[in-house]
Amino acid sequence: MKKNVAVIGTGQTIVKMRREDVDFPGLCFEAASAALQDAGVTLEDIDAVVFGSAPEYFEGVNAPEKWCLEASGGYLKPHFRVHTGGTVGASTGIAGYYHVASGMYDTVLAITGDKLSEGELQLCLSTVYDPVFGRDFACGAPSAVAMQARQYQAKYGITDEQVAKAAVYNRKNAQNNPYAQLQLDLTVEQVLSSPPISTPIKLLEACPGSDGAAAMVFTSEDNVKKKYADRPVAWVKGVSAMAEGTMYTYRSWAEPIALLTAAQRAYYQCGITNPRKQLDVVEMYNAFAVQDLIWAEGLGLCNRGDGGKLIDSGAMYMDGDIPCNPSGGVLSANTIGATAMVRQVEACLQVMGKADKRQVPGAKTALAHGWGGAIQFQTVMVVSNRL
């Protein structure tokens, strides 16, 4: 009963700390145009648009999808906004997938973005916390992940050096990615001696804040057979978006139960029983270097508690057996709104063979991971160039 859906085109803007040459709709227009061009379609071919962006406070405009409606291709088309915090990019891609999988629409544009430069980012994120009990503690996102890092590193004996290695390799990968904001050549020592943001997280272990947008064009199997048989496409093979609870004191942030479940569900849909072997490349939402290791465990790339061993082994590097984040990951560019979609875009580019200098040779199956919320939203999408 489930219909097969493919991504036939993607687009992303070059990510910068501050884009002063465009407003939010302008940024969306860039990404949408790029995706349409890559897919070889025009707006005439688009049956519906689904838009995603993270908290409205970032740009200070409520219902930003309304402001960006025409620029995102939605004029007199079905158009609504998805917002799930950090995972919004992925949730929007997933929504694009469901539009086509439902059978109601043939070709759908999913588009996401944010201009973090237009607001006070950490102030905005601090309003995530409970206004009565939480706000006095509120110090944005890094402090929440700092708590996660503490729990994780203490539980499994992960060293600061191992975490720093994750920062180093991601930033090195970014040098192959023309869209990445930060392209840094670092050593472990430089990372470890960078100023602390929220102990134990150091500056060079944290993502930047960015302006950027991304878009994807999804279409039906029938359409691929009719019109795109001669081109590489990325078939969506598995999709899951799970949420765990919020009450901080009841949870161990070292155990990403929502991710473990989301990964299991997505793997089940596409017959993956050994992700380390059956996946060729992984793009994860590593906003902070320590998360490289935690998410790797959650995705089953290694055993629980072995994240440190995994990074030490070099398996996650471009020449390893499970290359992660050839794009440079979230550590290298983080618009929040588009970030989780860029993971999906990069995964699609990999299996379509269109990842240029950051291509993992022969990649057939790729995973895109998304993370957000109060550390509790997790998304997984598996794509492949074979049905």
């Binding site: 005439e44 309304k66 917002h83 799930t84 915090g85 929504a95 439902s102 995530v128 009450m247 479940t261």
Partner: protein, 391 residues
């Protein structure tokens, strides 16, 4: 730019199998948002006899700016029953959340879906939170909000077609009168046209009784696929038509009287549902009329009458409870406006109508109902859902 929309025939059938509404009130001072939505979810589960374990996926609907919190759904997720569930959230109008949930079921990935929404407008200020929909460069300096934008739209419409304040007032009289039959409605008033015309002028031509109130509220609806729906209820409300459409953003750049996106959304939904003559083919309509004039405009955009005919239609009595096509037996948005919830209430009410469970506001023999939701300044985006007692 005509869209080839597939009819829903041939696709997996989805029904609304139950709902729960928390009564709209000016302020729930003793409850916080998680409690409101929890109550709505429990009401919906009780309505269907399901437990949260029977729910395959959750689609929430909310607004960070109203809640004053980023990613505000994060903290109501557990209250919605979202712990370790496949979930997502639409930031917009509740009907869009229902529309997306239906698509998720139609894909075959899920058999049941819970759609939730809440609004605690008393903790916010709708003038600011709607005003902040303005883009910062040219619109924010004008200080627009839902009152002034609705007034501009109402005035354009009234001037174009010679709609009188008396005709608009008839909408308020009808809806707030209808609300008396609705245990969930906030403003239940026995009004005369003179009462409406004598109420305080807010922004020409809108008087206080021409405009929706601001409400606290919450609601939930449960959707299920064919095969499952029939096991849950004897009277599923089948979704036979779905349409969603957005228009130009800047109010000054489009014809505010036309509601082009409402027309297109209705066209898509009607095509799928086989509705050819709305006044005849639809038995009851629940629409989102932010102000009284909007209802008259929507009569035209939804094809209940010709362009400019809204005033005559309300005068004819055809949209009264005993008329040919009763509109807003629940009292609609004029009686209760828990903003993000309003669209879900329209779907809940429409489903109750075709299930024969609408109590004192039941339209006898209602077999086909229309639920309409709107979002954005001056009804920029519109969603239409057709529900029927049989497919």
């Amino acid at each position: 730019m005509f869209l080839e929309v597939k009819a829903l025939q041939g696709l997996r059938k989805v029904a609304v199998v139950g709902s729960g509404q928390v009564a709209s009130k000016e302020a729930y001072r003793e409850s916080f948002v998680a409690e409101l939505v929890r109550n709505a979810v429990h009401a919906a589960l009780d309505d269907t006899g399901l437990t949260i374990d029977d729910i395959d996926t959750l689609v929430g609907c909310g607004c960070d700016m109203m809640d004053g919190r980023s990613i505000s759904s994060v903290f109501t997720l557990e209250a919605c029953g979202g712990f370790m569930k496949e979930e997502t959230k639409v930031e917009g109008d509740g009907t869009q959340a229902v529309y997306y949930a239906a698509m998720r079921i139609m894909s075959g990935a899920f058999d049941t879906a819970l759609v939730t929404s809440y609004s605690k407008t008393s903790e916010s200020d709708p003038h600011y939170y709607t005003g902040l929909m303005s883009e910062p460069f040219c619109m924010t300096p004008m200080g627009l909000d839902y009152v002034s934008v609705s007034a501009l739209q109402a005035d354009s419409y009234a001037s174009k077609y010679g709609i009188t304040p008396e005709q608009a007032a008839l909408v308020s009289v009808k809806n707030m009168g209808n609300a008396g039959n609705n245990p969930y409605a906030q403003r239940k008033m026995d009004l005369s046209v003179q009462d409406v015309l004598g109420s305080k002028m807010l922004a020409t031509p809108l008087r206080e009784l021409d405009l929706c109130p601001s409400s606290d509220g919450a609601a939930a609806v449960i959707l299920a696929a064919e095969g499952r729906a029939e096991m849950i209820t004897d009277s599923p409300a089948w979704i036979t038509g779905l349409g969603c459409c957005g228009d130009i953003y800047y109010p000054g750049q489009r014809d505010l009287t036309e509601l082009a996106s409402a027309r297109k959304a209705a066209e898509q939904a009607y095509k799928a549902a086989g509705v050819k003559k709305p006044l005849k083919d639809i038995d009851v309509a629940e629409i989102t009329e932010v102000c009284s004039y909007h209802e008259l405009m929507l009569y035209e955009a939804l094809g209940f009458c010709g362009d400019g005919g809204g005033g005559k239609l309300i005068e004819s009595g055809k949209t009264e409870m005993d008329g040919e096509l009763p509109v807003n037996p629940s009292g609609g948005c004029l009686a209760s406006n828990p903003w993000m919830v309003t669209g879900i209430n329209r779907v809940a009410e429409a489903s109750l109508q075709v299930s024969g469970r609408a109590g004192e506001r039941q339209v006898k023999g209602a077999g086909t109902a229309l639920a309409h939701g709107a979002d954005g300044m001056a009804l920029q985006t519109n969603t239409v859902i057709i529900l029927a007692s049989s497919v």
